[in-house]
């Protein structure tokens, strides 16, 4: 057992320069990488940079609904929501099994973001009563001229007004029946239906009755107000868009929807026909026959009935009143038209989907089908001023901690402490470089607990040196000269360091995997610095000590070197004095 270790340490002794060169290269490479990546400081978390951090907790009646796929969909949807606010820097990510963290940097309206993010995703199917495409965009491609833009019991005059106001298509004819129709998403149960919409002229406004009974029941004033809203609505305006689509599920609303060509369409939608939670399953499928993507969905029995009813009412009507809108979070994500009543609890939405579009839609449908809601678990708003202050306090605390450790080491280990201090600095440099690089690489953000972890790690890192130095000093006390002492102490110190660092790392890893929130940042730093500790001790501290043992100052045990045999109470050289020494020992008697 002793032999191989001896051999190894002898090998290490002969090439200490190699290890030092290696770590130097690593530092240079990391520094180069850091400057190349353009991130020369670690990314700061919300608590240090200022901003709002929202932690959402998934809630569900059934435990199995909280799974990775659902959480990922939720993250995607929330991302759409916050980025819809123009917050491009906001990040949404899952944490743990059932949490989603939304970090909104300073300078954005955190309250609005909270409103958006905290609410449950709502998915509804509403019949389309009126639609108008293309605010501010090019003319509707192949608009099917349909006289009736006014299925709701209002005059077509207002519809043409809206045309003017929205500088939509050449507005003479009120609202053509939408690009949506032409880009056709058809709902059929057999896919056989003719995708061309019926272009019948202005049919009776009475259709509204069947599509939305409550609309007709409501007072004229209400419908008028709605119509005014519709006219006034400009979907190209972000604020107006955000406000649109809100309303009771039993009443008609105005809403916006974005077409696949990025143009906005505005709608008047009837009351909710089917709830998203009635969808049991939705899937994007490539139709083998037509080689087109489509979305198939299954309803539960109640939903199937409701869907059959609504499609039965819509089928055969003129465009756009033969459409129903899929409304997610008050925005129309799709508005397929219906050619015949869809019965049997299954439906297909087909049309010119790209794969991505189809998958997106099916995701949303699936999401709406899940009884997954989110609750604000915690919200932290930090003003930039306080963030700065906390960062400063953390840095000061770290500097003081480091200074205290350095003073202690200097006083206790004298010259030897220089090696420890150099090692601490190397360790700090590596930590800083890696943290800076991890920002862009994996989205690591330095938060306050992480700063704490780094400060605590000073102690852990210094511990390794102490273990090794004490070993060396023990060897010197045994009467060895420095160079053999350094080598002999190493294998045993190495084992102790590895075993105890492993335990530290284990703790950090378990914490990181299991816990949530702020604990994670702390665990991450602790784990990282523990790993770096091993690297530094092996590649820096030990080789450096080996090298310095060759110098006169350390090698001869100068009284300030921390390795002075006399001061350490070493016995005179080993073999010669063992016997004389033994009787001198009081315990030996």
């Amino acid at each position: 057992m002793a032999a191989p270790k001896k051999g190894r340490s002898a090998g290490a002794q002969s090439k200490p320069g190699r290890a030092l060169a290696l770590i130097l290269i690593a530092i240079v490479a990391l520094t180069g990488g850091m400057f190349a990546s353009g991130h020369t400081t670690p990314r700061l978390g919300i608590d240090l940079a200022g901003g709002t951090s929202i932690t959402l907790e998934a809630r569900s009646g059934q435990e199995s609904a909280i799974n990775k796929a659902n959480m990922d969909t939720a993250v995607e949807i929330m991302n759409r929501r916050v980025n819809g606010l123009g917050v491009s820097e906001a990040e949404v990510q899952t944490q743990g099994r059932e949490n989603i963290i939304v970090n909104i940097p300073k300078g954005t309206n955190s309250e609005e973001a909270r409103d958006q993010v905290g609410t449950t995703a709502k998915l509804y199917f509403r019949p389309v009563l009126q639609s108008q495409a293309g605010s501010g965009a090019t003319a509707t491609p192949s608009a099917t001229p349909s006289g009736s833009a006014s299925p709701s019991p209002t005059s077509s005059a207002s519809a043409s007004d809206s045309g003017d106001k929205d500088k939509a298509t050449s507005s003479g004819s009120p609202s053509p029946s939408t690009s949506a129709t032409s880009q056709g998403r058809a709902v059929t149960d057999a896919l056989k239906a003719d995708p061309t919409p019926s272009t019948s002229g202005s049919e009776s406004p009475k259709v509204t009755d069947s599509a939305s009974p409550s609309a007709s029941a409501s007072a004229d004033a209400d419908t008028q107000a709605l119509q005014q809203k519709f006219v006034a609505l400009d979907c190209a305006d972000e604020k107006q868009r955000a406000a649109a689509g809100k309303g009771k599920s039993t009443e008609p609303v105005v809403a916006c929807g974005q077409e696949s060509d990025k143009r906005w369409t505005k709608f008047v939608l009837g009351p909710v026909g089917v709830d998203g939670t009635d969808v049991t399953k939705a899937q994007a499928i490539l139709d083998q026959r037509t080689a087109q993507w489509k979305v198939v969905m299954d309803f539960n029995s109640g939903g199937g009935d409701k869907f059959a009813k609504i499609t039965g009412q819509l089928a055969g009507q003129s465009s756009p009143m033969n459409e129903f809108a899929i409304v997610l979070d008050d925005a129309v994500v799709s508005h397929p038209y219906v050619t015949s009543a869809v019965t049997g609890g299954k439906a297909e939405i087909s049309g010119s989907f790209t794969q991505e579009e189809a998958e997106n839609l099916s995701n949303m449908l699936s999401y709406g089908a899940l009884p997954l809601t989110f609750r604000e678990a915690s919200v932290t708003t930090v003003s930039p001023a306080l963030g700065d202050e906390q960062l400063e306090a953390g840095l000061i605390a770290g500097a003081i901690g480091l200074a205290l450790v350095v003073i202690y080491l200097l006083a206790y280990y004298r010259g030897l402490s220089l090696i420890a201090i150099a090692s601490l600095l190397v360790s700090a440099a590596l930590t800083y470089l890696i943290m800076s690089l991890l920002g862009p690489a994996i989205g690591f953000a330095l938060n306050l607990p992480a700063v704490c972890g780094a400060i605590v790690a000073i102690g852990i890192t210094a511990d390794s040196f102490i273990v090794y130095f004490e070993r060396v000093r023990d060897e010197i006390r045994e009467g060895r000269t420095l160079r053999p002492a350094v080598e002999r102490a190493w294998p045993r110190a190495r084992r102790t360091i590895l075993v105890s660092d492993f335990v530290s790392f284990l703790a950090a890893a378990v914490l990181f995997i299991v816990t949530v929130g702020k604990v994670q940042g702390f665990a991450f730093t602790l784990g990282l610095t523990t790993l770096l500790d091993v690297v530094v001790v092996f590649l820096f501290t030990k080789p450096l000590l080996t090298l310095l043992a060759r110098t006169k100052f350390f090698g001869s045990g100068h009284s300030w070197s921390g390795l002075d045999p006399k001061r350490l109470g070493a016995r005179p050289p080993l073999r010669r004095t063992r016997r004389p020494a033994a009787p001198a020992d009081p315990k030996e008697a």
Binding site: T380, A397, L402, A462, D463, S500, F522, L568
Partner: protein, 363 residues
């Protein structure tokens, strides 16, 4: 400092030493007492759980001259709930309102800002739903459980099961003491505290592992000699690693102390303070337990093994036989034992002693 160095040398030579293992009953007693106090404290006073565990809001204002009582009133008006206001070191106010909904907090913040005549943007808000604290606590317990299982397995493989058990007991002991102190003193428990507590896990074991490592080495061939019992060698291990343990603990405590004073003294309460306080308490407890509890416990457990029992009998018999009666009392602290063995015991035991533990590696 150099005194400590001298102490190190003397400990190394065995000139001084403390019979940790021999007096273990005292330390077990002390620990049991502390544990009982901790449990009683926990039962009677309970933990002062922070807002993060009950749900509520904590607002931190910028520097202000508004008095605490005034701020309390404002906060009560704004929220309709009782508020706890602290003035922090840097003249900022920390306003805690429990039992408010996260959804309502924005309004409260707005009206607070109005009354305090501040820009609401500059008020920091920390809002916590009631279940979040539960989740953090649950995850922490879960992490604790998993870590303990893994560490016991690891220590059982790297060392042996008795050491794993002893380390486990020491760990539980540390956590109990820390929690007990929190209950007794009434420090507030926050997620920061939990972080600190969980960190102690790894840290408390660090010292224990260092001692065990030395112990394992020194007792490798223990049955081949009949001069020292397992307890003797365990005690020597503690003593010879004592300086190291003191140093590592001091060095670990220094940065934590820096955090504590900066966190507490300058910034007032906050996460830095919470983490460092529990670390400080836990680290101290950890150092204590690795010396006074873990290692003596290993000795106790080990000496139930038949071969070590037999060894103990042999050793004791031999000591009774020889004239050196005092050895039985305090001799075994001697770190130089193995060096001295040949001189004293003579050739008969030499081979055993030389191949034993440190002897094998060092010569």
């Amino acid at each position: 400092m150099s005194k400590l160095g001298d102490l190190g040398a003397r400990l190394h030579r065995g000139e001084v030493g403390y019979d940790f293992v021999g007096n273990r009953k005292i330390w077990y007693g002390v620990s049991i007492l502390i544990t009982i106090i901790a449990i009683v404290g926990l039962a009677v006073r309970g933990l002062n759980m922070g807002i993060e565990f009950q749900g509520g809001a904590v607002f931190t204002t910028p520097k202000t001259s508004v008095s605490v009582s005034q701020a309390e009133e404002y906060a009560r008006e704004a929220s309709g709930h009782q508020a706890v206001v602290q003035k922090l070191g840097n003249d900022t106010l920390r306003i805690q309102i429990s039992g408010v909904d996260t959804g309502k907090s924005d309004e409260i913040k707005q009206s607070l800002a109005e009354e305090l005549k501040m820009d609401p943007e500059r008020i920091n808000a920390d809002l916590v739903g009631p279940s979040w604290g539960d989740q953090i606590a649950n995850k922490a317990w879960q992490g604790l459980g998993i870590f303990m299982v893994l560490v016991v397995i690891y220590l059982a493989i790297a060392f042996e099961w008795r050491m794993a058990v002893a380390a486990f007991v020491a760990l539980v002991h540390d956590i109990t003491i820390t929690v007990g102190i929190y209950a007794l003193v009434g420090f507030e428990v926050t997620p920061g505290t939990v972080i600190g507590l969980l960190t102690i896990l790894g840290y408390s074991l660090y010292d224990t592992v260092v001692v065990f490592d030395s112990l394992k080495e020194q007792t490798k061939d223990i049955t081949k000699q009949n001069r020292w019992t397992y307890s003797d060698i365990a005690n020597r291990s503690i003593n010879s690693t004592l300086v190291r343990s003191i140093n590592t603990t001091v060095v670990a405590l220094l940065p934590v102390a820096g955090l504590l004073f900066i966190g507490g003294g300058v910034l007032g309460a906050g996460m830095l303070n919470d983490i460092s306080l529990s670390l400080f308490v836990g680290l101290a407890a950890g150092a204590y337990s690795s010396i006074f509890i873990a290692t003596p416990l290993v000795a106790d457990l080990k000496e139930r093994e038949p071969q070590l029992k037999a060894l103990k009998k042999r050793v004791l018999a031999k000591r009774a036989q020889t004239e050196h009666v005092e050895l039985a009392a305090d001799g075994p602290l001697d770190d130089e034992a193995e060096d001295a063995t040949p001189a004293v015991v003579g050739p008969r035991a030499q081979s055993g002693a030389r191949s034993r533990g440190r002897g094998g590696k060092r010569r």
